[in-house]
Symmetry: D2
């Protein structure tokens, strides 16, 4: 599968490296970025054609699939155009910053019949997959508590945040997808936030740290904590407690050695998602290629992206109103669609 990659920011370069060097079932066909310098540099580095005109790639008959890693604002349009050009589509989360655009993109892609996979990478990380498989196999009985942390070491620039869709849509969305995957559908969302770590974030009306409480359809409870400023490093860990067992997923270290001095034993902590997830991003691209090859449905679809987006906006509403937001999951189109009072 030959993949054209659009967008060469940080995630884009992760995908470029994986497509160029680590995926056996996919290869990098070309790269595009609005910034000619970045496009040219990546073209040289990975020895593929480059362009600033992403549209050209959509017309290229040697391209089988498109991976979209641009800023979010450009996602939906590219996704739809690529699908209509007959290309299979991989897209970073979220699909768009608003619901109508998200829905339109999901529906437009569905109409074309191409494969459409969203970049929720934990769904492809070996640790998470192994643990979740045991939960789904019933090894812990019915889960009744879900707890997860996603934290960045340092906040991104305020300019990035201003166009990010807000804390919940940009960050919590990962944990909301994980919650649905591991435990099931949600019926209530509450949210609490603060901007203590970085006052500049508070000034633009955004948060740097938040708690989101979930009530699942099963009656289980969940709590997500997120921070853009954990300070000590990058954290992505989860616990699910069930009747007969509890699982904890954690991989705090990047390097596996301890340095012992009279001050104690110290091990280095992951500093970012690349250190935390050495395999997940390559594996998600491999999985995408296998779905394309085999004509199977990706593990995480456009409808999953919409569901996580809706839960994120419910969290945002809950935070703004200070009240828990009941949400209604409805099975349809082979997925689940959420609705709630006050939904955009």
């Amino acid at each position: 599968m030959r993949v054209a990659l659009i967008g060469l920011g940080r995630m884009g370069r992760v995908h470029a490296r994986n497509l160029a060097g680590r995926c056996r079932s996919a290869e990098l066909a070309a790269v595009a970025d609005a910034d000619a310098g970045m496009a040219e540099a990546a073209g040289a580095e990975f020895d593929v054609p480059w362009t600033t005109d992403s549209g050209a790639l959509l017309d290229d008959p040697t391209v089988d699939a498109v991976a979209v890693a641009t800023p979010t604002a450009a996602h939906a349009d590219l996704v739809v155009r690529a699908a209509r050009a007959g290309k299979h589509v991989f897209c970073e989360k979220p699909i768009a910053l608003d619901r109508p655009a998200t829905v339109r993109a999901v529906e437009a892609v569905a109409a074309t019949g191409v494969r459409f996979q969203i970049g929720f990478h934990r769904r492809h990380d070996p640790d998470w997959v192994a643990a979740t498989r045991r939960i789904h196999a019933g090894e812990m009985g019915e889960p009744y508590l879900f707890r997860t942390s996603l934290r960045d070491m340092k906040p991104p620039p305020v300019e990035f945040l201003a166009g990010s869709g807000g804390f919940f849509v940009d960050m919590t969305i990962h944990d909301l997808d994980t919650a649905r995957w591991m435990v099931g559908e949600v019926v209530e969302v509450a949210a609490y936030g603060t901007a203590l770590a970085d006052p500049a974030i508070g000034e633009i009306g955004d948060l740097d740290t938040a708690l989101v409480v979930l009530r699942f359809e099963s009656g289980a409870l969940g709590v997500i904590d997120n921070s853009r400023a954990a300070g000590y490093g990058y954290e992505c860990s989860t616990e699910v407690m069930g009747r007969s067992a509890t699982v904890r997923i954690d991989r705090p270290q990047h390097r596996h050695y301890q340095w012992l001095t009279p001050d104690g034993a110290t091990y280095g902590i992951n500093r970012d998602f690349e250190e935390r997830y050495p395999l997940a991003y390559a594996e998600e691209m491999e999985a995408f290629a296998r779905c394309v090859r085999d004509g199977t449905e990706p593990a995480v679809t456009g409808l999953d992206a919409l569901a996580a987006f809706d839960l994120a906006t419910a969290a945002d509403l809950a935070w703004r109103t200070g009240r828990a937001v009941p949400v209604v999951p409805e099975r349809r189109d082979g997925g689940v669609v959420y609705s709630f009072a006050g939904q955009a």
Copy 2:
């Protein structure tokens, strides 16, 4: 310091063992329990006089202090009578099952001038003390996220629960005291609960698992998770995240060896609070004896018990109404007193 112990249930026996064998500054003077068999057995085991009439101990001039570990319903009356008899008082939490009785007891004891210490044992555990000291010394900067878990392995009998004051007053109260101690006063409490683990608990209108979200005066957020049915063991762990450091307190194991087989490496987990806290209960009794000897104020007073009780009832109200409850901490009488709309 000669201590008469009243109440020989599980916590009572913990205190008896510590007073008899581990505390250098205090000794067990006598034991009392309404159950003559238990009283006699403990008397024989610890080689001290026993009685079923706790009042007799209050009149005994050789007794310096009284430790109250009866069922909660009897706490307040014993506390007040002991204080009026001039005995220093150690009392298990909570002081009473309702606020007026709690307030009356706190005020009555204060009027006598005796030392009054509450059994929030974490305040005396070496791990918690060391970590909290570093927080208070400013080593992590201003905390902005507090997270704590307190979980029992298996639920107590439903009959016990029926007289326990409910989930928040019986269980969460420990974490609420910890939150105030480590991070500071609280201005909002929200709570979410479920009774999935044990249907019998749900039938009496109580919970087995809950999440409590706190907003601190400083703007920091906190989340407490509690369960009466963790299944795998007893858990009591905490994380506090600040600008320049994060601390994690955890002591999952009772025995320090790993057993490795082809199925993996296994270590035993704590099964109850006695395994988790090998030193804290002895240390709290020592600390109490030192306060009596030196005429200093205990680290955790009747007003602290009242504050934790008030936050627990605010959590109960939040859970029952499905809304966050704003609470108002007011400095007075050398402590902090909480009020909130709907307070009993």
Copy 3:
């Protein structure tokens, strides 16, 4: 059981604290030390009579047992006199600095019929006891590799070392006892040493770091590493590998919290044996009291002390000659006695 404690150095004070405050079946009767200031201070601290004349304690009819924690040179004489005075005897290792004195003491005590227990504290530590019980119960099958580390953070003063009996008799002796206890008798000892950490130690012909290789009767191999200068802290950990399982005993931390900063996650390491073994020393004294009360044989006897001493001197010989030393364990007198060519 009333215990008179002779010797108030570091180990002596550990025993004093335990006898005074933590042992239920034993109590501190009196203390003695050649240094009047130390004796008086301990007498005041523990509220017991003190003396500089240890002989007086041996005549005291209210004393049931004697704990000997003086410098090694004085052990044997005190042990024998105490036993002949009808006192049960607890003695720190080693019994003496040479074999004839050790043998004489063991035989003299045996002739009196008093209880005689040696201070190999691991035999009473809950972690080691639990792990060893599983080995002896056959849960790992036949062990075939034994590995253990005992390391001090910093070397003692050279003056202490000069009278210590040498590296193997002073330090390795603990691991040799552990090897016999966990795996069984030994048939060959080899030893390798260096004095890199502290040149002053090399100048007196002693070692600061050594490796001892054991061949057990069963065919299993063992390796002990010891250092007087681990630098980072105190270490005492062990691994035993068997056909169907492997066990690792380790308790690196004193306080159970981690402090996370951008430099990594740090936990404090034990700095000395008191931090590493919060319970073992109290438990060994309890066990001694139980043996006296019940008339049973201590878990670690004078013959065990002699066996460990003999293996330590075999290690010393192996190190000095650069050759493995075959040793012959012979069952007799309810114990095992070692002999080897070149034995003193």
Copy 4:
């Protein structure tokens, strides 16, 4: 760099996967194996030409380099022929089963001027590289104790062992290279072995478990423990203790989650070198490609292979004679060559 791979056993397939899918600077050009079925299958899997005639690949002008992963007996001849054909050579350890063949191969390759790298993969694993860099930078001061474990879960078939060169040459050789790399040259080797785990191994005069003691030129001590039958899993861990710090390298887990039940917390342990070293084998091939590209010397050369081989045979001699073997490291030809009495 186009690499022809000769030998498609387990290590060969690891290299094939890495060359085909994970190395950016090298690609798989062709595969050869004496077994036509295996060669054909690998050719199909990796979409490259295959052959049973490895000689044909040496003549192929489009091949830049050859990776030799055949049984050891065929290494030396292939290495020399490849080098003489102008191909750069990567070869699994050991180069040969006897010293003369090893020396001849090293010298023959040196005469051609091609790059020659040996498959000591730890030299390229990120954990080991990072830790060793800190040692070499002087962060721990002078090391004085080195300890390492290499253990397989289960023994290979006895037929493999019969042609393996023996325990020390086949297995310990890895740790001997690590010892030289991390701490420096060796002046004495002692060895102790047993065949308790698998009697069939003892019957062919080989070992399944061994201890090797090293004395380094610096005066430091080292101990290696190796087993072919650890039972619980694959282990490869190391500790180096220095004056001011100690480092421990360990990566026991393959998946990063814990499963908690009333029986304790269990995590899965690595079962083999592929689980233990997810990155090292790809990285060593990358490093080889970079050396070829840049004309630099590989981190681990033919002389390093000879040095480790010589130390392994010294260990074998030490084990057979029961005496420590003094060895003499001599700097020459840009490397170190060892000699000792009794050397083959």
